[in-house]
Symmetry: C2
Subunit: 196 residues, 2 copies
């Protein structure tokens, strides 16, 4: 199963950019569309930017959290999920120097990141991509892709606002938020119903 | 700082292969030498095999373990470290499906992997490379590189034997062991004294 993905912003793509907001640090260049492709692809000529990420094993969840997530979550590509949000994030050097137990404590015991996300399942589906260890230097450490139905956008806004007030977010030194609307029907990639 | 490394086995290289033993699963093709290079390089013509890995953030150590390791460990490239061992390892699918807390419990609370390694510091220096999330499919999940002086080879043998009896090793489904001797003086790569 392909675990690498490419996000290409440019004049065409299966998602239309409704809004792009730099929440922290440098913005990304504007674009009207986003194309999401399996594999690490090179951007076409005329692309505005291109980000790569890889879906990896879980780094923080416990057995009970994993079971609770599995029981509630649904996959990407649901027919009603015509809204998507891409949130590229970079964390500080200080974050990456923390040992595993302290990163876990910040993420969950302190910030409740996993528990908060769980409250919004199955409405807000999510896939996390890691960028930091890829061979081509990436401007972000994580790309999180969210999908939901239009009527769940308010819930998504609340989720995002709650996460951004946590201690974990003190380690975020760059963050951009792209709000997207599906421009073409579900394809075989992000779009095809998949197991979570 | 470059975190990606390439290990090329072939007819030449700065390390001479003294012995290559498949400990579990398929062996690797024979070769007389190993070249270790920074970056993800393509193998030259005539190479026997080529493995890629990336040094990443720590996945399991706690603050107290990290501090204890930092206090005792020495870097690669010490003049007296004329012996090296490369151990490529693949872990089972079952391992990768475990949540973080259970992987940690197997590695340390049960198998004492970190504590055992600590006993052999600073004599046995070590660098861990991750392979699993790289774009080019890799035959192993981890490449561990060890360096020590000839008089510490007995200690290294004991370290290895102890680790292989642990519960963690039940999840290892492929493992090869390459014993190496430095063929050329320390260069600017593995070879140059570096901070641990």
């Amino acid at each position: 199963m392909e675990r690498h993905y490419t996000f290409i912003a440019g004049p065409s793509g299966s998602w239309r950019v409704r809004q792009m907001v730099p929440n922290r640090g440098e913005p990304l260049a504007p674009a009207t569309h986003l194309q999401v492709q399996a594999g690490l692809q090179d951007p076409e000529l005329g692309a505005s930017w291109c980000l790569h990420g890889v879906v990896s094993n879980e780094r923080y969840v416990t057995r009970s959290e994993k079971s609770a997530l599995a029981a509630r979550q649904e996959g990407l590509g649901r027919a009603q999920s015509t809204c998507a949000v891409l949130i590229p994030i970079r964390k500080s050097t200080q974050w990456w120097l923390l040992p595993q137990d302290e990163r876990r404590a910040v993420i969950e015991e302190d910030s409740r990141h996993i528990a908060i996300g769980m409250e919004y399942l199955p409405a807000i589906a999510r896939r996390l991509h890691h960028c930091r260890d890829l061979p081509s230097p990436q401007p972000f450490d994580f790309l999180t892709w969210f999908e939901f139905a239009p009527q769940d956008e308010g819930a998504f806004d609340t989720l995002l606002a709650r996460l951004r007030t946590t201690r974990e977010w003190e380690y975020v030194d760059r963050e951009v938020e792209l709000r997207l609307i599906r421009a073409t029907p579900p394809s075989s990639l992000i779009g095809a119903p998949e197991k979570p």
